[in-house]
Amino acid sequence: MKKLTRDEMAKRVAQDIPEGAYVNLGIGVPTLVANHLAADKEIFLHSENGLLGMGPAPAPGAEDDELINAGKQHVTLLTGGAYFHHADSFAMMRGGHLDFCVLGAFQVSAKGDLANWHTGAPDAIPAVGGAMDLAIGAKQVFVMMEHLTKQGESKIAAECTYPVTGVACVDRIYTDLAMIDVTADGLVVREIFSDIDFDALHKLTGVPLIDGTQDARAA
């Protein structure tokens, strides 16, 4: 079964981010999206720790320990970027000013509940960061994740079995197999990236899916 690589997923997500968008990329796999944003599109990357206009990693030797992203990695600031404090940063997130956020996930439910902050393991040390704020604040929440766990179970579930990050907050799911919109009518498959057909994808996923792959107007 053909599957997109993480970079290919990131490239596909980047295609759906228009010029002028204010975007927060969650730590981990979503940060790869930054590598695929078109060089000729001005897109504003927000980082929860207080910067807008985040640029790529600095050249070796040019790192500034006071210029980091949410994942504590060194970054740069684009010309026109700005710094601000934490209350302002989260006002941008919670107040609906971000057009998109891209998040990883353990699970997404059929109703768009997101689980991505806690594995549910009883002895896990809990940590949440800005995940819950992002999940409920961005105008569009994109999830980027593998379609199946290593054990072959669907990460799209009827209900989340992992502790929830946000309720009914996900708008679109990009996996290594397909792109699926969360709608009032249910989960609508818009594109299949893999070499399987809709019925095979439906069976793999194990929750009701609507075939939207033939619609002339894709999202």
């Binding site: 210029l67 919670r94 940590a127 800005g130 604040g137 929830v164």
Partner: protein, 234 residues
């Protein structure tokens, strides 16, 4: 004449009492007031409640305070890091209490305290484990959770430049919680890389007006020296 400049780190933290709630600025190591924390460790106050975004990295700064067993409780959003082994060990041994707060709630609770707000409704965390037991309200078709302000006795903050009236500017992503913690704490103690003469900070550029600041100590940072030498204004 008003002069908020303290001559030593020791004098600045001398009155932190056992059991105090101390906010510490910083996001990871960016903006972490390491020298003030070292002075606090030397001063010996214990049974502290610490408010920070994280719970320490490696062995220095906040991690050193935890390692010295001075902290009873930590209120933070992301304790677990690749190098948070000091916190991890204390937590697993049941030797430190953790109040986990979503980062935006942490920021807004701190801001609210400094702004005199008694409580606020936020959509963050609704329907999750972290909202269990909390009052909720449906407002205009959206669900919210009632959160309370977070006050502190002291705040330890790192800024870039400050003057004798306590006005502050910060540097890049080292700003983070600094401005809001300064307002939320009864006593805000700030280490700056350079104390500048009154008037050198452009009034249009001051990020934390001195009303929120009680103590300023100059602690030069080697990584800032070239930049400070080159600039003549804020």
């Amino acid at each position: 004449m008003i002069n908020k400049i303290f001559e030593s780190l020791q004098a600045a933290v001398a009155d932190v009492q056992d059991g105090a709630t101390v906010m510490i600025g910083g996001f990871g190591t960016a903006g972490m007031p390491s020298e003030l924390i070292d002075a606090l460790i030397e001063q010996g106050a214990r049974e502290l409640t610490i408010v920070n975004n994280n719970a320490g990295n490696g062995d220095i700064g906040l991690a050193a305070l935890l390692k010295a067993k001075r902290v009873r409780k930590i209120i933070c959003s992301f304790p677990r890091q690749s190098d948070s082994y000091v916190f991890d060990a204390l937590y697993r041994a049941g030797e430190i209490e953790l109040e986990l707060v979503p980062q935006g709630n942490l920021a807004e609770r701190i801001r609210a305290a400094g702004a005199g707000i008694g409580g606020f409704f936020t959509p963050t965390g609704y329907g999750t484990k972290l909202a269990e037991g909390k009052e909720t309200r449906l407002i205009d078709g959206k669900h919210y959770v009632l959160e309370s302000p977070l006050h502190a006795d002291f705040a330890l903050i790192k800024a870039f430049k400050g003057d004798r009236w306590g006005n502050l500017v910060y540097r890049k992503t080292a700003r983070n919680f600094g401005p809001i913690m300064a307002s939320a704490a009864k006593t805000a103690i700030v280490q700056v890389s350079r104390v500048v003469p009154l008037g050198e900070l452009d009034p249009e550029q001051i990020v934390t007006p001195g009303i929120f600041v009680q103590r300023v100590i100059e602690v030069p940072q080697a990584t800032h020296q070239a930049e400070l030498a080159a600039a003549t204004t804020a």
